[in-house]
């Protein structure tokens, strides 16, 4: 593993990336072009997964048992959390992640990824027999959690650009 391409002390996420992405090895092809194509392919697969998996969960949870719904919830968390690594990593590597323009593609993409999460939560609450108060608490938690992520990201970006 090499992190020699990095300036300064590599962070944990950069060390993880250097190991997983095998920067100095041949796991992703023999040269820079093949590596780029592999990374493009992986990014494509992740982008498709990012939409398909939440939608499958959102649809199937309604016919699942409570026990299965709990398992789906855990798998969903294990699936979604690592996806945050993408933004964390590119931010660390000085990529400007500020959204300059909300294009139709960006809006549709956001809706396609956010809506199924809330549909899944509704289905999860339904099949696990949550009380109304608990349901509202869960949705409020989701909103507050999502809002916190957005606020934290905006603050971090402003600090990074000031």
């Amino acid at each position: 593993m090499s992190t020699s391409h990095l300036s300064g002390t590599p962070s944990g996420i950069e060390r993880l990336a250097a190991y997983v992405l095998d920067f100095d090895g041949d796991m992703y092809g023999q040269d820079e072009r093949e590596r780029t194509r592999w990374y493009e392919g992986i990014a494509l697969a992740a982008a498709v997964q990012w939409v398909v998996v939440p939608w499958v969960m959102a649809i199937t949870v309604w016919s699942a048992s409570a026990a299965t719904a709990h398992v789906m919830r855990d798998i969903g968390i294990a699936f979604l959390l690592p996806m945050l690594l993408a933004t964390l990593y590119v931010t660390r590597r000085n990529v400007d992640t500020t959204v300059h323009r909300w294009t139709a593609k960006r809006i549709i993409g956001t809706l396609l990824t956010v809506i199924p999460i809330f549909v899944f939560l509704a289905g999860y609450a339904h099949v696990t027999g949550m009380s109304t108060a608990t349901r509202w608490g869960m949705f409020a938690g989701a909103l507050v959690g999502g809002g916190s992520v957005i606020v934290t990201t905006v603050v971090a970006r402003r600090r990074g650009t000031s």
Binding site: G29, D31, E32, R33, E34
Partner: protein, 89 residues
């Protein structure tokens, strides 16, 4: 050289005459090298040389310098626009 945008918004160098990579092929043949031999000398796969010659892949500046060195040419000769290199008159 013209900097153009292709599908996906990726910025790549493009030859105004559409002949990106043609110069690489011509100089390689002139040097009497096969695609495999050039690939071996610069440490890339043969497919990558093919992609450069067809204009599908614009190499990094480091690889471009290696290829230029192996062919006894400059990067501008291989990937520059002939219009830019024409002597001013």
């Amino acid at each position: 050289m013209r900097i153009g945008k292709r599908a996906g918004g990726v910025v790549r160098a493009e030859r105004a005459d559409g002949g990106a990579g043609e110069a690489v092929r011509a100089r390689r043949k002139q040097a009497g090298l096969t695609q495999q031999a050039l690939a071996a000398s610069v440490g890339v796969s043969r497919q990558t040389i093919i992609s450069m010659e067809t204009g599908d892949y614009a190499p990094s500046v480091y690889l471009a310098l290696k290829v230029a060195g192996a062919l006894g040419a400059s990067v501008e000769e291989l990937w520059g626009d002939p219009v830019d290199q024409a002597p001013a008159g």
